[in-house]
Amino acid sequence: MIHRPAILAAALAAVLAAAGNKRREILRRAAFSVVFFNSVVSAAYLAASMLGGNFSWEYLALVNVRVLLLACLAFLFMARANIFKALSFAPALAYLFALAYSQSMALLGLLEDFAAAAKSRSIGRASLGRRYRLAAAAGAAVLDKAMHNSEELSLAMRSRGFFEGNDSDV
């Protein structure tokens, strides 16, 4: 029963109804996140099954509705739940998750700065060798920055007494 497209479509409608006024945004983000992989699999299935004579609309509907349902559920969870608060039962894990997230955003910003700087200093298309050197320099700078941030974070956490008990406000 769980593998019937109609049941999954009803579940998808229920999830979108539960999303309230965020339903359009959730549907848009969910569809965007699955469209590439689903299109490739669906197109390949369509071609292979047409040639093999075993095409099934039911399978195509089943897999696409299921993937969209799961993606909508994930985005609804993200909209409704605060993952950092949800991890409050394990303070160390919550700190780890929050730090990893904030540092990821910082390092992503550094990578974007690198890409913008490389673009602004290049006339025309860069050679393959130069693009490799730029990518390697960006990778090394990110690791450098990460280790520097690690030392700063350790000092900040130590100065706030994090390591003496896990009830600090870091």
Binding site: V67, M78, L96, L107, L108, Y132, A135, A140, L143, L153
Partner: protein
């Protein structure tokens, strides 16, 4: 690559959660033995590095590019267990905060990319570094892409065998191993060449700044 939700059957992802849970517990125990009080910030920034490294682009001929896996350098420098935990954290973050990858497929992705990819990169580097360090770094980069790709190709290719209707219609992923192995491995074998070259260049750059293999 990593597999999104909806293509892997519970017959595979439920046992995979069990196996990954055991591996995460083992990794946490090993990290507690070797890490000091700085372990949380170190692990957090290493996860952030893995996240950023996955965003690096491997330049391909003709001006195009592909996403790097960024696994080999952290595995070589910090060891496979640390890289496994960091990559698992990145995959969890991508699934729970960005909606990329999947929650049901998290253990399959973590075991393939984080555990197998990092371990094989670290082991191949250590096995070959005394023969030729550049070859060792290249092999680590190439294998860090292709070993996970092989595992994910097998995981996807087994779906028709483990989850089909009585009349043989697939319920999850429609293609067997005869399709998934060449479809996934041939492009990854080529992208792995770029990853290998990038691994050499990044490692040589960080070596100058005092970071070397663990």
């Amino acid at each position: 690559m990593h597999i999104p939700d909806g293509f892997i059957a519970p017959q595979m992802y439920v046992p995979a959660y069990g196996l990954a849970g055991a591996m995460w517990a083992l990794a946490a125990r090993r990290l507690r033995e070797s890490f000091d009080e700085d372990s949380i910030p170190k692990l957090a920034v290493l996860s952030a590095f893995c996240f950023a490294a996955m965003m690096l682009m491997i330049p391909l001929p003709g001006g195009s590019s592909a996403h790097a896996s960024g696994l080999a350098v952290p595995a070589i420098v910090f060891g496979p267990w640390t890289a496994f935990v960091a990559v698992s954290l990145v995959l969890a973050m991508q699934a729970l905060l960005f909606g990329n990858g999947g929650i049901t497929t998290l253990p399959v992705n973590a075991l393939a990319l984080g555990l197998a990819g990092a371990t094989v990169a670290w082991a191949s580097y250590r096995a070959l570094r005394n023969v030729n360090e550049n070859a060792a770094l290249f092999a680590a980069g190439w294998l860090s892409v292709n070993c996970p790709a092989l595992i994910l190709a097998i995981a996807l290719g087994l779906q028709p065998a483990i989850a089909s209707t009585a009349d043989g219609k697939p319920l999850f992923f429609p293609f067997g191993l005869s399709v998934t192995l060449p479809a996934i491995m041939i492009p990854h074998a080529l992208v792995g060449i770029g990853e290998g070259v990038l691994t050499i260049l990044i490692y040589r750059a960080i070596e100058k700044r005092g970071w070397t293999a663990s």
